[in-house]
């Protein structure tokens, strides 16, 4: 999957000051699950999955998540955001290969 790590963020179409909006984010990622051999023993290797997610708005932390292999492939998360002023929303996913994938969105009032 060439696209691994593409982060997309979806915001509501109109945001007013003071709203608590729901933001949806999605990342393309295989989220490998534990594999077992024929005896049912876990194959010991470094599995490739996202282990944490951090959301920040204007540099302030909004939400943090610890995720495991029990999260579906191409995971999506919806989280709340209290909008007091316009700014930049950043979402950072970190995976077990040491890579991190970042997505960002500008929040403006209409």
């Amino acid at each position: 999957m060439a696209e691994v790590g593409r982060v997309s963020i979806r915001l509501p179409s109109s945001i007013k000051q003071g709203d608590v909006v729901r933001v949806r984010t999605l990342v393309i990622h295989p989220m490998e699950i534990v594999q077992r051999d024929k005896q049912g023993k876990i194959i010991s290797k470094n599995y490739h999955f996202i282990h944490s997610l951090a959301v920040a708005f204007n540099g302030k932390e909004i939400m943090r998540a610890e995720t495991t292999q029990a999260i579906s492939q191409n995971p999506s998360f919806t989280f709340p955001l209290k909008v007091d002023k316009p700014g930049k929303l950043t979402v950072t996913f970190s995976d077990t290969t040491g890579k991190s994938y970042e997505g960002s969105a500008e929040i403006k009032f209409v």
């Binding site: 999957m1 608590v20 729901r22 949806r24 295989p30 989220m31 490998e32 699950i33 534990v34 594999q35 876990i42 010991s44 290797k45 470094n46 599995y47 490739h48 999955f49 282990h51 708005f57 302030k60 932390e61 909004i62 939400m63 943090r64 998540a65 610890e66 995720t67 495991t68 292999q69 029990a70 999260i71 579906s72 492939q73 995971p75 999506s76 998360f77 919806t78 989280f79 709340p80 955001l81 209290k82 077990t96 290969t97 040491g98």
Partner: protein
């Protein structure tokens, strides 16, 4: 080696200190005893530190964590604290029947405040029958405005799914819901 072993060796050492106060001359036997207890203490401390580091390392490198029963997970996460019924405080939305266990939508919404004196800190998603029952842990800050999260998880089999909210004062509120899973989400290889 566990924390209990550490305590054991520590108390053995303390006993010896008490003994020292009583008689000033140290015999060969008592001397050997202090050496053993000190060594045991150092060994236990090293083991505990090492295992904590190994746990952290395995999360970051993707080595699979050992299988765990739901009781063990609850004990590890919450100790002996009691879970209060969270109906009315937390809303957990799950399908009644999940055709694909590999992709089950979970929505958790709570009216508990995320700011103020006692506020909601974490929300855990726990599945009773997964091999590693803790699926995800979410941490909220006052800037989030509301405790709400929605994601999709993998469920191994038909199971109870719990949403547990942990407050800043340590109180725990739990709700659970049963899901029937048609195809396991954990036994199929991931599609690439």
């Amino acid at each position: 080696m566990t924390a209990l072993d550490l305590l054991d060796s520590l108390s053995a050492f303390m006993d010896f200190i008490e003994l020292l106060k009583d008689d000033v001359t140290i015999g060969r036997r008592t001397f050997l005893r202090v050496i053993t207890s000190v060594l045991a203490f150092v060994g236990a401390a090293k083991d505990i530190l090492f295992s904590a580091r190994a746990g952290a390392q395995s999360v970051a490198t993707g080595l699979p964590l050992p299988d765990e029963l739901i009781e063990a997970t609850m004990k590890r996460l919450f100790g002996n604290r009691t879970l209060q019924p969270g109906a009315g405080k937390i809303k957990l939305d799950l399908p009644l029947i999940a055709e694909d266990g590999g992709n089950v939508a979970v929505t958790i919404e709570s009216d508990l405040p995320v700011g103020g004196a006692t506020h909601l800190n974490h929300i855990y998603i726990i599945s009773d029958k997964n091999r590693r029952p803790m699926l995800a842990k979410f941490t909220f800050t006052p800037e989030s405005g509301k405790a709400f999260v929605s994601t999709s998880v993998r469920l191994a089999t038909s199971t109870d799914v719990r949403a547990i909210a942990e407050m800043s004062d340590g109180a725990l509120y739990a709700v659970s819901k049963n899901v029937r899973v048609t195809i396991s989400g954990c036994d199929v290889p991931p599609q690439s």
